[in-house]
């Protein structure tokens, strides 16, 4: 009798071990293993958008939506042809516009035969004529790994890789939806005991790894080369050296002699050199540091921008640039023996630090929480960010859940995400420090953060007053206007300081299986004087006398031929609501007109409970209160963007559940968001009554007040109230 004494477990496990003697190389040979994942997603929301099965993208014509159901299949292939060789592959479908309602993706309109060309395919309406809606299957990756047993080479990887062996400052791990898209040849090994290396050649992604988010017209030879040397001379000290060089080539159009081949020239080059080290003298203290230097050069002969206007879009600044990035961390682990520990971080990231292959998301290079995702891409008026019609919010009023992750690039990628995913934000230009104590007080786990951030991007006229204000080497993306932005690092005028304070608490209530109680208070105080030198004011003093008199338009040059009047033009005199005569917007005649002062408060309370081994659920409430001065009507949020000065309140109720069973997992994330924006754009202008067309276009009340800006965009003075319901449920299973 094998089972006795009521101690089945121990005997069972013994039996299992005793039988486990199959040789490890049993699978050697041509055995092909096929496993798979299924992923079913269900989106629902009251925005009633159904462009695709992702909540968010800024990429034109890709579609976004908060409604729909879809299925992905992911087949994983693996084999060990020999004991030194392993081959893995992945074949996967994509959500894209593959809604269940496509009924398999048949029929649909064919844009290739539409004359004139029809609208882009969105929401699956092109059926079988668009790969994004006809349930197509793609090869996502194929990787051969060799362990040749050579003295200096431990492993050779050829094909797809996630680049996870480097670091987010140079060659970052590829995000999950692109996980196997990078293709490379990778050698890893040891040059001596405790001295390893990684040597890689990555084919440069033509979709985004160069100026203007592309790598030119000759792309197939573009690549990045990385070498990482890892030394651990002792358990108390380790050291890593990294070198990366990126080569984006174009054919020399002036080489007409084809007989000896064609010459190539660099469209874009990017070199990064860095060191990281760790000192681990005891368990009480741990010290880590890093220093990186980068240089990059874009050649405008190959169509890359030589400068940007006020709203440039590119993952790298123009021209020839170089800069450094430094970071140091000290962890003090319970130095007083009372359960109180500290994490300290200093950081200084240059305005021109560039690594085009740095991690774009799913990495967190700084200790600070940074900003929150709740206010990004809905603008304050629930548009995406602009002041023109036809630009409604995409992710929705609730924004992204949680705080942001920090990435060391302006090439931030929040595309094709859902609201429950972490938002990434750029930290290019940040310098400052974080002090993060954490301690236990009875049953409470407490942690806190104090961060002070100054900026290497604090400058006037883009840091180069010899150039025109609309001729900068820096791309501005969606600008720094609003509560926060995620990929903007540069502004024409900046004199900013940010303080972040966070207190988090967690307590396990000893009831039944234990109730997790958690909460957080977060304060952000941010001040930005922006234009702080009167010589940069657009017009001469007294140019706009007021009292219904027109402005004289005597521009003031801050350098020969350059004036901020190019972007801060004077207002016309109009007759506004109620027959009042005055300026359409306030003249920019004081350095305080563009000042920013944000007082941001967030409080979170929640509880979670593990109902069974398989089911966990939590309920969270978050409230955000933001008092924001973000310039007045003279500033106009750089003309194109929604003004956000005023009081913002936002509330989130989040119900989360996760249920696992064997190889399956069910997830549920419901959010109810509600709140208000009460604008306060200051004085010095005459409010206007909205036109019926503009009201219809922007979804504003007929007859409401606001003002039309320099480009005709409308900023409403109405208090706005918002309500958003949304849900993401999913089922994952492994087979």
């Amino acid at each position: 009798m094998r089972f006795q004494r009521g101690f089945a477990f121990i005997l069972l496990a013994t039996a299992a071990l005793a039988s486990s003697v199959t040789p490890a190389h049993a699978a050697d040979g041509q055995t092909l293993l096929i496993t798979g994942e299924g992923y079913i997603k269900w989106l629902w929301g009251n925005q009633r958008t159904d462009g695709s099965l992702y909540n968010f993208t800024t990429i034109p014509n890709e579609g976004y939506g908060d409604n729909g159901q879809g299925t992905e299949i992911n087949l994983l292939l693996a084999s060990r042809p020999s004991r030194n060789t392993e081959v893995t592959g992945r074949i996967q479908s994509r959500f894209s516009q593959n809604q269940w309602t496509n009924f398999g993706g048949f029929g649909g309109r064919n844009p290739a035969f539409e004359e004139p060309p029809g609208a882009p395919c969105v929401g699956g309406d092109c059926g079988e004529f668009d790969p994004r809606s006809n349930e197509y299957i793609k090869m996502r990756g194929l990787t051969a790994r060799y362990t040749p047993g050579w003295k200096l080479v431990d492993a050779i990887t050829v094909g797809s890789t996630d680049l996870g062996m480097f670091d987010p400052w140079t060659i970052g791990k590829i995000r999950y939806i692109d996980r196997d898209n990078a293709k490379a040849v990778l050698l890893q090994g040891s040059l001596a005991n405790n001295f390893g290396y990684d040597l890689i050649r990555v084919s440069l992604p033509r979709l985004w790894a160069g100026p203007d988010f592309n790598t030119g017209s000759y792309t197939a030879a573009d690549g990045a080369y990385g070498l990482q040397l890892r030394a651990t001379p002792s358990p108390l000290f380790d050291f890593v050296g990294v070198v990366e060089t990126v080569s984006d080539l174009e054919v020399d159009t002036l080489d007409f002699d084809y007989d000896d081949g064609r010459d190539v020239e660099a469209r874009f080059s990017n070199d990064v050199y860095g060191v990281r080290f760790g000192i681990h003298p005891s368990t009480l203290i741990d010290i880590r540091g890093m220093a990186y230097f980068s240089q990059a050069e874009s050649d405008p002969r190959f169509g890359v921008p030589s400068s940007f206007g006020l709203s440039g879009f590119s993952p790298v600044p123009a021209g020839e640039i170089d800069d450094e990035a430094f970071k140091a961390n000290v962890d003090l682990n319970d130095p007083f023996g009372v359960g109180l520990s500290f994490n300290l971080e200093y950081f200084d990231i240059g305005a021109q630090y560039i690594s085009i292959l740095a991690a774009r998301r799913e990495a967190d290079v700084l200790l600070t929480e940074g900003s929150d995702g709740a206010f990004v891409f809905p603008g304050p008026d629930n548009s995406a960010f602009g002041v023109f019609g036809g630009n409604p919010t995409r992710i929705g009023y609730g924004g992204f859940q949680g705080n942001a992750q920090q990435v060391a690039t302006i090439n931030v990628d929040n595309e094709f995400t859902d609201f429950d995913e972490a938002m990434a934000e750029s930290v290019i230009g940040w310098k400052g420090f974080t002090i993060a104590p954490n301690w236990s007080l009875g049953g409470f786990d407490l942690s806190a953060e104090y961060s002070f951030i100054d900026y290497n991007t604090n400058w006037q006229a883009w840091g180069d007053p010899s150039r025109g204000i609309e001729s900068s080497i820096y791309p501005n993306f969606e600008s720094d206007a609003g509560v926060n932005s995620y990929r903007n690092a540069y502004a024409p005028f900046q004199e900013k300081e940010t303080t972040i304070m966070v207190l988090r608490g967690k307590y396990v209530l000893d009831v039944a299986k234990g109730v997790d109680l958690f909460g957080k208070v977060k304060l952000i105080d941010e001040q930005d004087d922006r234009l702080d030198d009167p010589r940069f004011l657009p017009y001469q003093a007294g140019d706009c006398p007021g009292g219904g008199a027109a402005c004289s338009n005597n521009a003031r040059d801050y350098s020969p031929g350059n004036s901020t009047a190019a972007i801060y033009g004077n207002p016309p005199v109009i007759t506004g609501a109620g027959g009042v005569v005055g300026y359409q917007w306030a003249p920019f005649d004081d350095i305080s007109d563009d000042d920013r002062d944000m007082d941001y408060r967030m409080i979170q309370l929640g509880g979670g409970y593990q109902f069974t081994d398989n089911l966990y659920s939590s309920l969270t409430f978050e409230r955000y209160d933001v008092d924001l001065l973000d310039g007045n009507t003279a500033f106009q949020a750089y003309r194109l963007h929604s003004m956000s000065s005023g009081e913002h309140t936002k509330n989130k109720v989040i119900l989360f559940a996760r249920y696992t069973l064997g190889g399956s997992e069910f997830g549920f994330n419901y959010e109810y968001n509600f709140g208000e924006f009460d604008p306060d754009f200051g004085g010095g202008f005459v409010p206007q009554v909205i036109s019926d067309d503009t009201a219809r276009s922007l979804g504003l009340p007929f007859g409401s007040l606001g003002f039309a800006g320099r480009f005709g965009g409308w900023n409403s003075l109405e208090t706005r109230e918002f309500r958003q319901n949304r849900l993401k449920a999913f089922l994952k299973f492994r087979f």
């Binding site: 003697v21 681990h280 009372v338 009875g442 081994d613």
Partner: protein, 324 residues
């Protein structure tokens, strides 16, 4: 003057509050382990990725303290414990911090506790996938398993045992009747609950992880006269697919409970440096060895051909030489 005393009072109060947890916690024992021995049998190497680095699984000490109605165990590692962030860990975007809710994700620590100190009394098996046995002289009555997903691990363990039981019943030489099978199946959840504890009150602070084990599980506070087998391994957070098993990275017949296997060569997704043709090589990166025994010898002393696994001896804190 009243106002000048206020800061002093505030400081005193704060100091008292901060120090409060230290009081009422008496140390029961501390077991130390050498720094730099996170290499299993001496040849193991970490995966070639940035998730796990040398020192991450290097256990330096285990301390037990009396606290409230239980025992607070504190593990100290050579490096700060990696904490889970909001990063995707699979192809469908599962966020790491929603899966690893207890503040760590890279490691498992098993404690097998021999409470009665009677040789041969208790179990000698370790959890699935550890591929080693406990010395019968330290056969255990209770096990504590610190793992990033304790609830899922407990559920998975019950399922594994049920599968194993059904497999045993199907064996040709099995004398297990249907009634016995059903009775034993019903017995599994209770056995697991009463004998194996998966801590959920876990704190991660720098290089330390502490976790609480209630008296109701151990029958009282931990004792320094008990014997402890302590083993550190790399966690397999997703426990997905069993690709490792299918590809021969680990034994075909042995299930593995959330543990990364060890394999010959160097790889990105598992522990490297293993022996060729050694399915019984235990994927344990660090253990606490008793005085006079070497970890490398203990973990390297197995014979797959002879079906003889490595045997891990227990350590009795009260019998360890006191270090000054």
């Amino acid at each position: 003057m009243h106002s000048s005393r206020t800061p002093v009072l505030a400081f005193t109060l704060a100091a008292a509050l901060l120090a409060a947890p230290a009081f009422g916690r008496s140390e029961i024992f501390t077991l130390n382990d050498p720094r730099g021995d996170d290499h299993g049998d001496g040849n193991y190497v970490y995966p070639l990725n940035d998730e796990l680095n040398e020192g991450d699984l290097d256990l330096l000490s285990l301390t037990a303290r009396r606290e409230g109605a239980g025992t607070q165990f504190e593990l100290t590692f050579a490096r700060p414990v990696k904490t889970p962030g909001r990063v995707a860990i699979d192809y469908s975007g599962t966020q790491l911090d929603t899966v690893a809710r207890f503040g760590f994700y890279t490691l498992n620590v098993d404690l097998y506790i021999d409470m009665d100190r009677a040789p041969g009394s208790g179990g000698t098996s370790m959890l699935p996938g550890r591929l080693a046995e406990i010395d019968p002289a330290s056969a255990w009555e209770r096990a504590v398993v610190l793992t990033p997903r304790p609830h899922e691990a407990r559920g998975e363990l019950k399922r594994m045992l049920a599968r194993q039981l059904r497999q045993d019943a199907r064996d040709e030489d099995s004398d297990l009747g249907q009634a016995q099978l059903e009775a034993l199946q019903k017995q599994i959840p209770g056995d697991v609950e009463s004998r194996i504890f998966f801590p959920t009150q876990v704190r991660v602070r720098g290089s330390k992880i502490s976790f609480f084990v209630p008296d109701s599980f151990l029958g009282g506070p931990a004792k320094d006269t008990w014997s402890y087998v302590v083993a550190v391994s790399a966690a397999d957070l997703l426990q997905s697919f069993d690709v490792n098993r299918a590809l021969g990275r680990q034994s075909e017949d042995e299930e593995a409970l959330m543990i990364l296997p060890v394999s010959p060569g160097k790889w990105q997704d598992r522990i490297g440096g293993g022996r060729e043709g050694a399915p019984l090589q235990p994927p344990l990166m660090d253990i606490i060895a008793p005085e006079g025994r070497k970890q490398e010898t203990i973990l390297g002393d197995f014979d797959s051909r002879a079906r003889r696994p490595a045997v891990l001896p227990g350590v009795v804190p009260a019998e360890q030489p006191k270090k000054k």
